[in-house]
């Protein structure tokens, strides 16, 4: 059996959880088959990278733990950055909806009072 460093296990477990999440969303019909395939390829690549032997020489326990901490930090950092991006985008969309509604209301008001022929 292959021995994995802790950081490799973390990467593979994280990738596995995300693939599982997409599969559940696919079964709930919130994702299409194509979206499932795209997400599986992306997260599957991450699992594959985690599976590859480490290029670093981890010959002591300390450096392995050090690398695990860095891995966990990077995963948290990227995941929270991406989540924030999605949240920001939703917020931007809300602002846009308000701006668009206001533009239409203003235009309709103008045409109701000034331009009856429309």
């Amino acid at each position: 059996m292959m021995d994995f460093a802790l950081y490799q296990i973390i990467i593979m477990a994280f990738g596995g959880i995300l693939i599982l999440r997409v599969i559940i969303r696919f079964l709930l019909k919130k994702k299409t088959l194509r979206e499932l395939i795209v997400a599986t390829i992306i997260w599957g690549s991450m699992i594959f990278l985690g599976y590859l032997p480490t290029p670093l020489n981890l010959n002591d326990k300390f450096s392995e733990e050090y690398l695990s901490v860095i891995t966990i930090s990077l995963i948290i950092l990227f995941y929270s950055t991406f989540s924030n991006m999605i949240k920001t985008e939703r917020l931007e969309n809300s602002v846009t909806r308000v701006i668009r509604r206001k533009a239409i209301e203003d235009a309709l008001e103008t045409y109701d009072t000034n331009n009856k022929n429309l």
Binding site: L18, V22, T32, R34, E35, V38, A39, I42, W43, F82, S83, M85, I86, E89, E92, N93, V95, T96, I99, R100, K102, A103, I104, D106, A107, L108, Y111, L118
Partner: protein, 239 residues
């Protein structure tokens, strides 16, 4: 197509700081016989809005700049309210030719299509697309296929026709240039009929400079193309 059909067709022009060219574009469209022109000023800092208004168009103004996608959707919503039977969207920078409107709207009036894309890559007329821009467009087509499941020859073309049915069905949330791809995604999901027709394009000095100056209106700009790609990936895996 009969002249009476023209009254049911609305032309939507999203515009951002286009004061120099908007009046001539409106005149060209009128010369082709289309009177229902909606100009959506997307928070311009010049007098695009007043020029469009004085030209007698239906004018709407976004208080702040929200991007081409948002402006186009506003125009389409307005057209829907005004009972448009078909809508044609085109860019305000003068790269599109008004005499192609008829070509774009014809399959809709004849009930052959719900969405017609004016493809810049299918035409031999007009200015040839610069090689780098062509490369980015093909890349965008591939991305649109991977993430939205539909392949067309010009996924980023702003010259499009929409049927009444498409207007009632499509409701996008992407404010910027991803709008064009999102429309295709929704068309695929709702089984709308899509077709493409070749259109001519003029790459004037004005339109070239415009793309370099304003990043939100420049899908051809490599940074925007990259940012669009990253957003598509993140959206695809995080939502």
């Amino acid at each position: 197509m009969k002249k009476s059909d023209y009254k049911k067709i609305f032309i939507v022009i999203p515009a951002y700081n286009e004061a120099k060219v908007i009046a001539s574009l409106i005149n060209f469209i009128r010369k082709e016989g289309f009177e229902n022109i909606i100009v959506v000023d997307d928070g311009s800092t010049d007098n695009t809005f007043s020029i469009a208004k004085n030209s007698g168009c239906i004018t709407l103004k976004h208080l702040i700049n929200r991007g081409k996608g948002a402006a186009t959707q506003t125009g389409m919503d307005m057209a829907k309210i005004l009972n448009a039977q078909a809508v044609v969207t085109l860019d305000a920078d003068g790269q599109h030719f008004a005499d192609d409107i008829f070509k774009v709207v014809k399959p809709i009036i004849e009930d052959e299509s719900d969405i017609v894309i004016g493809s810049r890559l299918k035409s031999n007329k007009g200015d040839p697309m610069p090689k780098f821009r062509k490369f980015l467009n093909i890349l965008a087509n591939i991305m649109t296929f991977i993430f939205y499941g539909i392949y067309v020859s010009d996924s980023q073309s702003g010259f499009r026709g929409y049927s009444r049915h498409a207007l009632q069905t499509i409701n996008t949330s992407q404010d910027k240039y991803e709008f064009e791809s999102e429309v295709l995604h929704q068309a695929e999901n709702y089984n709308l009929k899509i077709s493409e027709v070749p259109i001519k394009v003029a790459y004037t000095d004005y339109s070239r400079n415009k793309y370099n100056e304003i990043k939100d209106f420049a899908p051809q700009n490599i940074f925007n193309g990259f940012s669009m790609f990253i957003k598509m990936v993140i959206r695809s895996i995080m939502t």
